[in-house]
Structure formats: structure tokens, C-alpha cells
């Protein structure tokens, strides 16, 4: 093995390739790297193709994806893509809820207004902030609708066809109860729910927000485990890919409208946007930027998963034809 830094790094990159690739080419690729001292160019080349193979699992499919193992692998990639998109959705929605804390009940609320009524599309926003929020709401509605359209049939099918995975569904039910119960308790202790500031403004709401995010993550993990280990039909996986693509598009729209909101807020109320109590609930550039970063990560992950799932979806379509 070459003792150069590139020579030491290259075999590790080979080990990061997808399993089907390693089973077919791994041994000879490592042997080749022994014979030829890898350069940084080779490392770059291996890295680029590493990404390519993770995004295109069909490349290693035998005989244009006809062998049983290859088809199973591609369908597995399709299923994992849909689960990753679900996770991206959950992350983006948590960021969106945090973003809502900036707007709902915050200093921006008085600025959200309509300038009149459009003949066909409801109210006409009075300013950039209102327009961005209206578009953002549409993106969230689209994401939710697509997630329900794709996710509910998958979850129901996993429940019905795989009794062993039913225990996973206890987690979201328990999480729902655990998320709801503190609200009336807080109302009893601190007054009506409407007066509770849900914008990370007090230690107790900080704790609740962390609790809420933890419950959401646990629920998402349990549901994705149920779908990952449940027996799901090829047709259902093929169907669910379409809503998952819509979710990805909606997450990109959510990201775009959230960025647009920040630009509008900076332009229209610079003192409010640029100053403020950073990350403590008031509308600030820092907390907006944090939300944008989370949404960008979620949308990017969803895009990659969509590309990766496309091969499996194509195989499923061919087999159904």
C-alpha cells in the first residue's frame, strides 16, 4: 500500500461504497490501489463516484436490473429513500414550528396584513412579509398533504401485514399524549394557554420545546422502523414514491419562501430583523438563519433521497408494466 496521504485515504473511500458495489468490485479495486500509487486526483475520482453510486444503485444491477437480488436491492433503496424523505420532512417541520415562534404572537404579527381581495386567489398580501408567509403556508400545506397521502398507506400496510412491527406504533401514540398533557397542566399553573409564550421565551417553554422535539424524533424513528421492517408491497412502494417527490418539492418551496421572508423582513423592517434578542424568540436574523440552515439541510437530503429512489422506482415501474 502506498504510504502517501492519498494512498492511505483511497482504500477508506472504497470501503464507503454501497455494499453491492463492494461485493462486486471491492477486492479488485483495493488490489488496483495497491498496484498503482493513488494520487489526489484518484482520491477525488473515487469520491465523486462514491456519491454517484449511492445516488444510482441501479448501476450495479445485473442484466438491467432483472436479477432477484438486484431488484430487491433497488426496492430496498426506494424504501429507504422514502424513509429519508420522511425524516427530512420532520426536521423541516420542526424548523418551521420554530419559525412560527418568530411570527405568531411576535412583533411581526401586526405587519402581516392583506391589501385587499384577489378575485380567485383569496387575499392579496399587503407587503413582502405577508406574501412570503402566505406562500410558506401553501408549501407547508402541500408537504403535509403529500406526506399524509404517501405515509399513511405505508404505515397502515406495515400495521396490517406485519404484526411484529405493531409495537413501534405505541411510540407515536405515547408521544402524542406526552406532548399534549403538559399544556393543560401549564395552563393550570400559569394561566390560560393563550398567554403561554411558545417562543422559547421562558425556561419552562425551553424545556417543553426540547421535550417536543425529542418526542417528534422518537415518533419519527419508531414509524420509520415500522416501515423499514414491515412487509410492504412493491406497488405500494412505487405509489409512495410519487408523494415523496411532492414532499421534496414542497420542502424546497418551504426553504425558498422562508428565505424570501427573511429578505422581505430585512428590507421592510430592518431594525426589527437585524436587532433583537438572538435565538430567544424575538424576530432576529440569527434564529431565522438557523431555521433556514435546518430547512436547507432537510431539503438537500430529500433531493438526494429522491434521486437515489428514482432507480428503484423505475425498476418497479418496469416490472409492473
Amino acid at each position: 500500500m502506498s504510504a502517501t496521504p492519498a494512498g492511505l485515504l483511497a482504500p477508506y473511500i472504497v470501503r464507503l461504497y454501497p455494499r453491492p458495489w463492494r461485493e462486486r468490485y471491492g477486492t479488485e479495486a483495493l488490489d488496483l490501489l495497491e498496484l498503482r500509487a493513488p494520487t489526489w486526483g484518484d482520491v477525488w475520482d473515487l469520491g465523486c463516484h462514491l456519491v454517484y453510486h449511492w445516488l444510482h444503485p441501479d448501476v450495479i444491477a445485473d442484466g438491467e436490473g432483472s436479477s432477484a437480488d438486484s431488484v430487491a436491492g433497488l426496492l430496498s433503496a426506494l424504501r429507504s429513500s422514502e424513509i429519508v424523505i420522511f425524516w427530512a420532512f420532520v426536521a423541516a417541520m420542526i424548523a418551521w414550528l420554530q419559525f412560527g415562534g418568530l411570527v405568531d404572537g411576535g412583533p411581526y404579527l401586526p405587519l402581516v396584513a392583506s391589501a385587499g381581495t384577489w378575485p380567485f386567489f383569496g387575499t392579496r398580501p399587503a407587503n413582502g412579509i405577508s406574501a412570503a408567509l402566505a406562500a410558506q403556508t401553501a408549501a407547508v400545506d402541500l408537504a403535509f398533504a403529500a406526506m399524509l397521502a404517501g405515509g399513511v398507506p405505508l404505515a397502515v400496510s406495515a400495521w396490517r401485514r406485519s404484526p411484529a412491527v405493531r409495537r413501534y406504533f405505541i411510540v407515536p401514540l405515547a408521544a402524542f399524549v406526552a406532548a399534549v398533557v403538559p399544556v393543560p397542566i401549564a395552563a393550570l399553573v400559569r394561566g390560560p394557554v393563550a398567554t403561554i409564550n411558545l417562543t422559547f421565551a421562558t425556561p419552562i417553554t425551553d424545556v417543553y420545546c426540547v421535550w417536543f422535539v425529542g418526542l417528534a424524533a422518537a415518533s419519527a424513528l419508531a414509524l420509520s422502523r415500522a416501515v423499514a421492517s414491515g412487509e410492504l408491497g412493491e406497488g405500494l412502494l412505487r405509489y409512495a414514491y410519487v408523494p415523496s417527490v411532492v414532499v421534496t418539492v414542497a420542502l424546497l418551496l418551504l426553504l425558498g419562501t422562508t428565505i424570501a421572508w427573511g429578505i422581505a423582513a430585512h428590507a421592510e423592517t430592518p431594525t426589527l430583523f437585524d436587532a433583537g434578542n438572538i435565538a430567544r424568540g424575538s424576530a432576529t436574523a440569527a434564529s431565522w438563519l438557523l431555521d433556514v440552515l435546518v430547512m436547507a439541510g432537510a431539503a438537500g437530503l430529500a433531493v438526494l433521497a429522491t434521486i437515489r429512489g428514482a432507480s428503484g422506482h423505475a425498476v418497479a415501474l418496469r416490472r409492473s408494466a
Binding site: Y25, T27, E28, D31, R36, P38, W44, I60, G63
Partner: protein, 112 residues
Amino acid sequence: MSLTELGPFADAGLLLLASLAAGPKHGYAMLADVEEMTGVRMGPGTLYTTLARLQQRGWIEALPAEEARRPYRLTEAGGEVLQAQLRRLERFTASGLSRMGLERATGGGGRA
């Protein structure tokens, strides 16, 4: 059947098919051969992605491994694809040289 089916890997596919036209080779031998033929240093990632694409279309096939090295050979279909592409390149080269007013080199590196 055409090399354009390989999309961004068409050029690498042509080089590997041409290398295998001289007989079965394993990966390292192909890279060395390509570098000797063209001066192009092909990366290992490009090599194995292109080999997978060529295998997927049945233009090459893997032979039994010799220890860690697996040789590949050109199939009949692969030979036809290679020949068709080389003919196209030959016509392109002749046309290009003719348009430049240059006599086409016919062996041994002739010039205008």
C-alpha cells in the same frame, strides 16, 4: 446499440472497449493500457463505474477471478459497438482534416 447510451461515460467506455479489443485484461492492466494509448490517466472510480455500465449492457463480461484480480473481455456485442464507434470517428477525422485542407494521415503519423 451505441456508446452514447453510456451518457457521461461514453468516452471512458470507448477507451476501455478499445483496450479490451486486444484481449482480456484486469483493471490495472486496462488503466495502464489506456494511459499508454492516449496519455489519459483514468481514475479508479471512473474505471469501475464504466465497467459496470459496460457489463450492464452486455458489451463486456467478467472472467473468473485470478486471486484478487478479475479479468474482463469484450463480447461480440461490445465488439460491434466499438467497431461502429471507431468507424464514426474515422469518418469524423477524415471530414475534419478535409475541411482544414489537410491530407488525412494514413499510417505512421503523416502530416499535411
